[in-house]
Amino acid sequence: MSAVMITRKVRKWEKLPGKNTFCCDGRVMMARQKGVFYLTLFLIVGTCSLFFAFECPYLAIHLSPAIPVFAALLFLFVMAMLLRTSFSDPGVLPRALPEEATFIEMEIEAANGNVPAGQRPPPRIRNVQINNQIVKLKYCYTCKIFRPPRASHCSICDNCVDRFDHHCPWVGNCVGKRNYRYFYLFTLSLSLLTIYIFTFDIVHVVMRSVDNGFLNTLKQTPGTVLEVLVCFFTLWSVVGLTGFHTYLISLNQTTNEDIKGSWSGKNRVQNPYSHKNIIKNCCEVLCGPAYPSVLDRRGLMQEDSPALSDAPPSSSSSSSVPQTTKTTAPLIPNEHTPDEAKPSIAAPPEKSPAPREEPAGAKVPPLASPETDAETSIAKDQTH
C-alpha cells in the first residue's frame, strides 16, 4: 500500500484549535453553542415585528410618523451591534508554536533551578510590574503561553482571550478586547429599544382605550400584550446589565476581574489599568483604537494529506494533519491529554509541520502538569 502526499491549500481557520465554529469561509467566528443566540435573535426580531405591525400604523397617524422611523433606526443599530459582537473575533490569542513553547519551557526550567526529588515544582507564575503594581501572569497549559495581563482562558471556547470579560451565551461568543464596545453598545441600545417599545405600547393602549375601551383595545391589538410581557422582563435584566457594565467601564475593570475580586479588598493591589478618571476610562474603552485580529483566519496554508494509491484522495483529511496541540513541543500532560498519549510523551517527536526545523541539541525539560504544580493543585482542591 503506497501513500502519496498531496499538498492542498486550506484556509487557516480550518486548522485552528479551539472550540469555535466558523462560517462564511472564516469571516464569521462564534462559539459552538448557538441556541441561546438564536433565541435572542428571535425575541428581538419578533418583538420589533409585532411593534411595527400593531403599534406603528396607529401611532404614525395619531401621533407622529417619526416614531416608527426612530424605532426602525434603533432596531437596525441593535441588530448591527448584536451581529458584530457575535460574529467577530473577541481577541483570541493564538497558541504557542512548538519552538516558542520549548523556549518558554526552558526559561521556566532555568528559573526554577533544581527541584529536590519528590517535591512539586513551584507554580508557573511570572511577576511583572505594571504602573508600580505587581501583577502575576499565569501560565496556560492549554495554549502553552504566559497569559498577558487581563487575558483569561475561556473553557467553553477553549481559547485564551485578551482582556477577557466573560463568555456570553446570549450573543453566542466570548466578550473580550475586540468586541467589548460592541457588546456594551448592544446592551445600551437594546435597553433604549426596550424602553422605547414599552413606553409606546403603553401610550398606544391608553390612547386606544380612551376611544374604544380597554378590553376592545386588547382584542384589536393582541400583539401588544406579548410585547409588553417580553419588554417587561427584558427591561430589568438588560437595563441592569447596562448599568453594571457602565460601572465597570468607568473603573476600567472587566467582569472577570470583578468576579474574582482582583482589585478589591484591602490586601489586593489597586487596579493598575485605571486612569483614576471616569472620563478617561470611558474614552479608552469605548473610543480606543479598533484592534485587529491576530488570528489570520482567511490566510492560506499548505496541508499535506496522504492519499492511498488504491483509494481516491479524501477531500477533508483533517485527522491526518497533526493538530497544533499535538506537535513537537514537549507535551505537558494535563487534564486534556488522552491517556494513550501519556506514555508516548517521552518518545522523540515523530511528525512535525515543519520538518526542516529542529532545535539542535534541545533538552526536553522535566514534564510539569497542573497536578504536579503546587498552587494549581491547591486551588483545585479548594474548588471541590
Binding site: V128, I130, N131, P149, C287, G288, P289, P359, A360, G361
Partner: protein, 203 residues
C-alpha cells in the same frame, strides 16, 4: 513605478567585526541569492520578496530561534523588551537590534494612541453602526502595514546578511518578536547549535 526596469541595489556586505567568526560563505550566498531573485521594492511584490528571503533556508539551516518578549511595565499597550538576547551577541550589534525594537515600539504606540484621531474614528464609526469599517481601513491596520514594510526592509538590509530573520509579531499573536538564527549548512553548524542550550538561560 518602473519596478521591472530598475535593478535591485546591491546589498552591502556586513561590516567586519573582530569577534565575529561567522563564515563568509553565508552572507555572500544570501546576497547572491537575494540579488538574483528579489525584484525592486514595490508594495505588490512584498510578499514575493519575503518568500525569497525565506528561501535562505535552502542555503542555510535554521539553528535556533530567539523570542523577544512583551514589556508590560506600562500596561497592556503593545511594547517589546529591549533586552539584548545573548544568542545574538555574536551575530548583530546591540545598537542595531535596539533601534529595530525601539522603532517597532514607536509604531505600535502610534497605532494604539488614544487621542483626537482615535476619538474621531470611534465616534464616526459608532454613528454609522460600525458599518464604515467595511469600507475604511482603521488606523491600526494602516500602521500594521507600515510595520510589515519596515520589518521587510530591516530583514533585507540588516538581518538577512547576518543570517537572521525577524518574524512580524502579528504572526505570533503580538506576543513575541521571533528572530530566527540561520547557520550555513555544511560549515560549523553544530557549534552554534550547541550554544542554544546554555544561551537560553538569559532572563
Amino acid at each position: 513605478m518602473t519596478a521591472a526596469a530598475v535593478a535591485p541595489p546591491p546589498l552591502s556586505p556586513p561590516p567586519p567585526s573582530p569577534s565575529h567568526p561567522h563564515p563568509s560563505l553565508c552572507p555572500t550566498k544570501a546576497i547572491s541569492r537575494s540579488q538574483g531573485l528579489v525584484p525592486a521594492v514595490t508594495d505588490g511584490n512584498m510578499a514575493t520578496e519575503f518568500h525569497n528571503l525565506q528561501e535562505l533556508r535552502h542555503s542555510a539551516s535554521l539553528a535556533n530561534k530567539v523570542f523577544i518578549q512583551r514589556d508590560y511595565s506600562e500596561g497592556t499597550t503593545c511594547k517589546f523588551q529591549l533586552k539584548f538576547p545573548s544568542e545574538l551577541d555574536s551575530r548583530i550589534e546591540r545598537t542595531l537590534f535596539e533601534d529595530t525594537v525601539k522603532t517597532l515600539n514607536n509604531y505600535y504606540a502610534e497605532a494604539e494612541k488614544i487621542g483626537g484621531q482615535s476619538y474621531l474614528e470611534g465616534c464616526l464609526a459608532c454613528a454609522t453602526a460600525y458599518l464604515i469599517f467595511f469600507c475604511m481601513e482603521t488606523r491600526y491596520e494602516k500602521v500594521l502595514k507600515k510595520i510589515a514594510k519596515y520589518i521587510q526592509e530591516q530583514n533585507e538590509k540588516i538581518y538577512a546578511p547576518r543570517g537572521l530573520l525577524i518574524t512580524d509579531p502579528i504572526e505570533r499573536g503580538m506576543r513575541v518578536i521571533e528572530i530566527s538564527i540561520y547557520e550555513d549548512r555544511g560549515s560549523s553548524g553544530s557549534s552554534s547549535g550547541s550554544s542554544s542550550v546554555s544561551g537560553s538561560t538569559a532572563r
